[in-house]
């Protein structure tokens, strides 16, 4: 279904800088699944941190650049729900680019939804004998609807679980608060430092109480925040992006 399709890899800027392994895992994973992927070298930040801080109007330049860089691809895939949501919902309208922007909306995918909805991955072979806790990032969860939200009366679903359940030996750990925010929130992490850290500690506790060994998720920003707190407090948790688990498993 993706044969002869051009797939562009969109790597959030902080992942490029701090978590190259997550980007590599995403690329290799897609390649192993038969996709032809390229990473346009000219890409920069999507503008989300600025927009969420109240400066959406100053992201016209980055948005235009994004559309120019990725406009020709059939699919754009990113290992981040948050950045994908930004492109879909908060990128400012660019005069003269309405059509391209409209089509981006349908071409851009967060990694797990690309795997479940476009590639229809159903039969991952491999094993990962660990107790895994999943941190559903809010932007993925309630923004992109990658999973059912605990607030709504809807049948349970989770695109991440759909993938992780295919892996032999992997134990999906149920949490008490299944989709509470970790407190990262971009600028919030520093403007509301005390709250941000408390929220992170509470999330970590939920994972620890349920015996999680490896905490995973679809957004490195949340994981960076949670891992930063866990390390500072010497808590026995390992952190991996879901792309790293999947890529490791099927190698």
């Amino acid at each position: 279904m993706t044969q002869n399709k051009k797939i562009g890899l969109f790597i959030p800027c902080y992942v490029d800088q701090f978590y190259p392994n997550v980007a590599i895992a995403t690329l290799e994973l897609l390649e192993k699944l038969g996709c032809e992927v390229s990473y346009p070298l000219g890409q920069t930040c999507c503008g989300q941190p600025m927009a969420n801080a109240g400066y959406e109007r100053d992201t016209v330049g980055t948005t235009k650049h994004f559309v120019e860089i990725f406009g020709d691809y059939d699919y754009i895939v990113a290992p981040s729900g948050s950045c994908v949501l930004h492109i879909k919902d908060h990128a400012p309208a660019i005069a003269g680019m309405e059509k391209e922007q409209e089509s981006l909306h349908y071409k851009i995918f967060e990694l797990t939804e690309f795997l479940t909805d476009v590639l229809k991955v159903e039969n991952l072979k491999g094993s990962f004998p660990h107790k895994v806790g999943y941190h559903a990032s809010c932007h993925g969860q309630r923004g992109l609807r990658l999973g059912s939200s605990s607030e709504r009366n809807e049948p349970f679903f989770s695109k991440a679980k759909q993938l992780l359940d295919q892996i032999a030996g992997l134990e999906w750990v149920e949490l008490t608060r299944t989709d509470e925010c970790c407190g990262f929130g971009g600028t919030f992490a520093v403007t509301e430092e005390a709250l941000s850290v408390q929220m992170g500690k509470d999330r970590l506790q939920d994972h620890l109480t349920h015996g999680v060994e490896i905490l995973t998720g679809g957004d490195m920003s949340c994981i960076m925040h949670l891992e930063g707190i866990a390390k500072r407090n010497q808590q026995p948790l390992k952190f991996m992006h879901i792309a790293e688990i999947l890529n490791q498993v099927i190698s």
């Binding site: 939200s149 607030e151 891992e227």
Partner: protein, 452 residues
Amino acid sequence: MSHPAKASEFLQDAAKAKWHDETLWFVRDKRDTISKTIPEWEKLRELASQIKDNVLANLDKYLVQFEEKATANGIKVHWAKDAEEHNQIVLSILQRHQCKAIVKSKSILTEECHLNPFLENNGVEVVDTDLGERIVQFLNQPPSHIVLPAIHLKKRDISELFHEKLHTEKGNEDPAYLTHAARLHLREKFLGAKVAITGVNFGVAETGEFVVCTNEGNADMGVHLADVHIACMGIEKIIPRRKDLGVFLRLLARSATGQPITNYNSHFRSPAAGKEIHIVLVDNGRTDQLAREKFKNSLKCIRCGACMNTCPIYRRSGGYSYGSVVPGPIGSILSPGLDVKKYSTLPFASTLCGSCTDVCPVKINIHEQLYEWRQEITKAQGTNAKSISMKIANGIFAVPFAYKVTGVMMRGALKILPDSITYSGLNTWGKQRDLPETPKETFKDWYKKNRT
């Protein structure tokens, strides 16, 4: 004080903050459970949302219709453009009846208008008859939650307070005992008041009736013993038809506390023989909000409090951290409409997690409005990046690590930021968190080597 400052103060008492979080989470959990027993829950929310959209689009007509019908039913209708007019109208009714003591059941509108201090300054004793409200009134505090006004207090606090004010046994924290004492105290007040004030949950345009919802029956107790009932109503509380109540009453109690129905839903139509009912219709900034396209649907709110119970920030910072009459997510989108400067930190007191939007029974897009207020607030603070709020800018760019992030992240978007902001020495990120290790090469470098 800004929200971050008050929030970190609240978190100082870690045990109490944890208790506050867990208590409100418990309420949210009850709400989740009961909402899932209604198969058509999401349809109900959609219906409620659409009814309210219709109300907001035709508010003028519905209000006039409501006035006509209510007047025909023998109710006296008053219009108040702001808090001051509202308070004057209430006072003049009291003066006409030479009334020096009133009982009031929970009304956030009268809090908004600061009616209590106004009446007290004019020699009228005001007694809030909702138990939680009475407790905070004893303490001279505003409510910290719109449905659970004293949720920030623990049993022990209340026991001490009642010992002092109502002479209950020292150290007796038994809720039944304390409630009984409050009952005896309030009974006296009910019997002595000639005028009772209530809020209004729903005003029905089609019939001129209105509905007041309480769990304690205190509104009814006050109103039926008094000669005069003054109902204070925000103009957005209108619903078109009586049958719409079926939608809203089902949503309200379940969203608020997880109960199937509020204990007392009292319907008022016309005064009993020899008695009076007054309705004061209050604008106080509501038509201004209605004129703001992006924010007008905040007026759909039915004040259930669910967005507070679900909010991870509210639960861990308490109602007072917001410094506004209505706290929590809904307060953070209503308050900037009243005073954008005073409440400028509120829309930033959120991670934009969206839980409030998903829980709201009338489907207000709360977190999207928080995002939009951020855009408005930074505009109000100056169009040029050099004059942007230093507080926010410091927050983001103060950290060497954040600078590293932004160094790349923002190179395109942020050329406009002065270096003095980006290089400030304060390391907020790293106070309680480790930084990620800097890898040997970026992905871009790796890609160039390995794939091109």
